[in-house]
Structure formats: C-alpha cells, structure tokens
Amino acid sequence: MKLELGYINIHDIQFSNESKIENGVLYVDKAAVEALVLEDEHIKTVEVDIARPGESVRITPVKDVIEPRVKVSGGGGMFPGVISKVDTVGSGRTHVLKGSAVVTTGKIVGFQEGIIDMTGVGAQYTPFSKTVNLVVNCDPVDGIAPHEHEHAVRMVGLKVAVYLGELARNLTPDEIKTYETCSIKEGFEKYPGLPRVAYVQMLQSQGLLHDTYVYGVDAKKIIPTLISPTETMDGAILSGNCVSACDKNPTYNHLNNPVVEDLFAQHGKTLNFVGMIITNENVYLADKERSSNWTAQLCEYLSLDGAIVSQEGFGNPDTDLIMNCKKIEAKGIHTVIITDEYAGRDGSSQSLADADPAADAVVTGGNANELITLPKLDKVIGSLLPIDKIAGGFDKNMLEDGSIMVELQAITGATSELGCNCLSAR
C-alpha cells in the first residue's frame, strides 16, 4: 500500500462568510459549521470558537481532537465505516490541514476531564497548544443518556473535521510525504539482513465512554488483527473515549501516530517494518487472555524479531500490556512496551498495576500523578465547573488567585503512550 499525505500548512483560522483556505489561513463560515452540528437531533446548542497558540485561553473539558483531512484519491473516504462508506483506505492521496485541529468540548459526565491551555505552563504539556484549534462546544438536548451524548459529540467532531478537510481537496500541498508498505514476501526479499519489527497497538475498549472504533466496529468486539499502518492515517481507527485525558489517544493521535511515523522512517534502513497489529483492552479477563494469545501468535506468524507494544490508559490495561509483553517475549521476539506511569506525586510508588521480568524494555510517557499549577487564563472555552471533578483535579484545587492545581492526568495528551506528547528526559 502506498499513501501520499499532502500537507496544506495552516497557520491561522479566521471566521468569514465563506469557508475556504487561502495563503495558509483557514477561513470558516461559522454559521455553516453551526448548522452542520445542529443537524444532529441530540444537540441543542452549539458554540464555535477559535483558540490560537499563545492566546490566554483554556479549553475544558476536552472530549476529542481531530485533524481535518480529505481523501483525494485512492479507495474510500475519511473515517470509513463511520462517516464514509466502509471501503478500505490507506492508499492514494490524502490532504491534511497541517497545524490545525478540531477540538470538541462539553460536559458528558460529571467527572470528565481534559484541559488544553494555549499559553503558560499547561501549554507546555499538551501538543494541542501548538495547533490552531476550531473548538466546538455542544450542549445536548435534555434527558440524554451519557453514551448518546458521547456518540453525538463524537460524530459532530468528525463531521466538522471532514467539512474543513474538504476545503483542501483541490489545493496544491506545501509538502508531500510518502508512506509505502510492502507485502510479507517483498519484505523478506528486499531486506534480508534487517530485523523484522511490527507494531502492536492496544486500543482502549473497556466500555461506555472508553471505546475505540475500527472501521466503525467497537474494538471491544474485535479479535487482534493486522492493519496497514497507512489505513490509520485515513481514519480507520478513531476515538470514542472521553475520559483519561493524559493518556487517551484522541483521533488526532491515531491519524498522526508517532510510533508508525518513526517505524516508517527506519524502514529499509535499520529495520523492516513488517506491519501493524491492533488488539483491545477489555475488562473481561478471558478476553485479555484470548487477545494476548492471539497477538503473540500473530507476531510469531509474521516471523518477527522485534515488537513494539503501545498501551492506552492505565490500571486495567496494564494487565493487557504485561500479558502481551510476556507472551510475545515467550515466542523469542524482543519486545519493547510504551506506557505511562502513576507513580504517586513524588514519583516513588510502583508505576504500573502489573509487572513481569519479561518487561525489560520500557518507554514511559511520564508520571501522570505529577502535580502542576496552571495559571488563571483570560478566557475559558467550555466550562471551568468540572475542573475540580476531573481526574487529576481535586476538591478545592482552585486557588484564591484563580490558578488551579492539577495532576498531569488532567491535561489532554500530557503522557501520551504513543509519544504524541512533549515530556522528555533529555
């Protein structure tokens, strides 16, 4: 499979009476976006706003972040099985509004989390302080159940992203990046001396408000399977997860997975990027056994020398992570896991809720319990009301001067287990 990503660099978003892209500025017809959102019978009111890097703006509670893209050629359309027909994606040309994002916000459950600060200390911890964001803040109709509300806001975010992406269909990209996978046979023939490495991505699939969708299928219901990494760049995997802000993978991260990016960069040089396996993180222990057995078996079937396993979330998924690691290692395949830590505020507690000697190569996204103080900002998009209720917030955490103390877990993307974050030990 060969996919070209054509980057249309966006450095600003402005409201206008016509939606278009000119000279790197994304002009948005606010009324058209609002009308699009209000097509959903579950949405009562909507506010559309812009948050730019460096502005004194806090967005909270954040649900999802989506990068606007459009499928220009090749099969299918963006977000197959959800927005577009369920055709196979991942080949041809896709245009990307690079530098911009759609952010959805709105209180779905009382303790929902997710803070994006566009300036100050908090901005240093989230990658989405560096994108210029169109923020869609929705209120649902009365009496809606949380899962219906989540579904409505999920669809709103995707629809707005697709609407904006469509503006780039006929533009000439500023930059084109090409990603090409080869078949198993081609890989053996072309790179006989290079280690064969695959990427195992664990998808959050615990249930209500903790879901991920693959071609529209709830990942809870999948068995581990192979997917082309280029398919993920066209939205084959998307987030239905609106809790666990620091280490959930917003849809943006699935589209821009750094593990995939780096493996492609090394493909044919230091390793042979054989492919990608997706698996889930179910609550039922028999599912964990089944999925980790199957994942390890697929790794063996692909004759791998190495596997990189990334996690999503914390706690229950730590058990899936360790099961995957143990079982893949037991096949004689070197395994690296990517996780984050809940090591207490001083960092001295046990980091994961599970462990095994086979997990001897670990990359961490950081300690989600680390405490930081966010300054008062001039403008809040969404609502500050849940700020003491979100995971990582706590009772009376708003100080007299308007600043807020939170653990890193409250900040969207702060300890991303895909490496989509800003923390480093370097």
Binding site: V109, G110, F111, P146, H147, Q204, Q206, G207, L208, L209, H210, K220, N241, V243, S244, K248, N282, V283, Y284, L285, A286, D287, K288, G313, F314, G315, N316, D318, T319, Y342, G344, S349, Q350, A353, D354, A355, N369, K389, A391, F394, D395, Q409
Partner: protein
C-alpha cells in the same frame, strides 16, 4: 458459566439482582477489593479486572467485580492481579467523600455499564 457480583454500587444491585447473585454492601472501593481478594484466596475464580474503568480508584467510590459462584483451584495470576490492584488503589486518595448527586449518579452509571459490557462478553 455461573457468576456472582461483588459491588458497593446500589445501581448494580438494583439493575442486576434479578439476573445474577449480587453481593451488595455500602462500603469503600478498597473494601470491595479486599472482599474480592478474600474470595480469590478461597479459590473463587476472578473473571473481571478489578481496576476496570479509567476513572481511578478512590476517584470513583464505586467498584463492581464478578467471580465464579463456586470456589475452585487457587489462581495465582488472579492473586497477583488483585494484590496489585489494592496497591494501586492505595496510591490514590479518596477524592470525593460525598460527591454531588449528579456526579454520584454518573459514577454509578459508569461502573454499571463497564460491568455490563464485561458480562456481555461471557461466551461460555
């Protein structure tokens, strides 16, 4: 497969008691885990992960776990999982000793639906 549910969530007791044996007691999150640990020590099989949900232990007051109805052979993997779960729980301070009613309702609902999701996966 015959199961029993250990819970401190009144909504679970209300919704699932007709279908399953539900052992409901109004106690802390940690106390639920300890009760589950004691059953595992007696040979009951653990079927759902005790740390289900990304809302952290003690941030939500509610926890529901399901196990076998009858004891069998001691499962050392389950012992490891429950012990690590209790260690993890102790890392988080009780956040909302008295959550406001709307939030309390959401916590109960989330715990119930995660449990129902896991129950729906039972194939034997």
């Amino acid at each position: 497969m015959k199961i029993q549910i250990i819970t401190n969530n009144p909504l679970v007791a209300q919704k699932l008691s007709e279908e399953y044996p539900v052992h409901y007691e109004p106690r802390s999150y940690r106390e639920v885990l300890v009760a589950v640990r004691d059953l595992i020590h007696q040979g009951y099989q653990l079927y759902s992960h005790p740390l289900s949900g990304s809302v952290k232990p003690n941030e939500t007051p509610y926890k529901s776990v399901f196990l076998s109805q009858k004891p069998g052979k001691l499962d050392l993997d389950a012992v490891r999982i429950i012990e690590n779960s209790i260690i993890t729980c102790d890392k988080f301070a009780v956040k909302f000793p008295d959550p406001p009613p709307d939030m309390d309702r959401d916590f109960q609902l989330l715990d119930l639906t995660l449990l129902q999701g896991a129950l729906s996966q039972i194939t034997t």
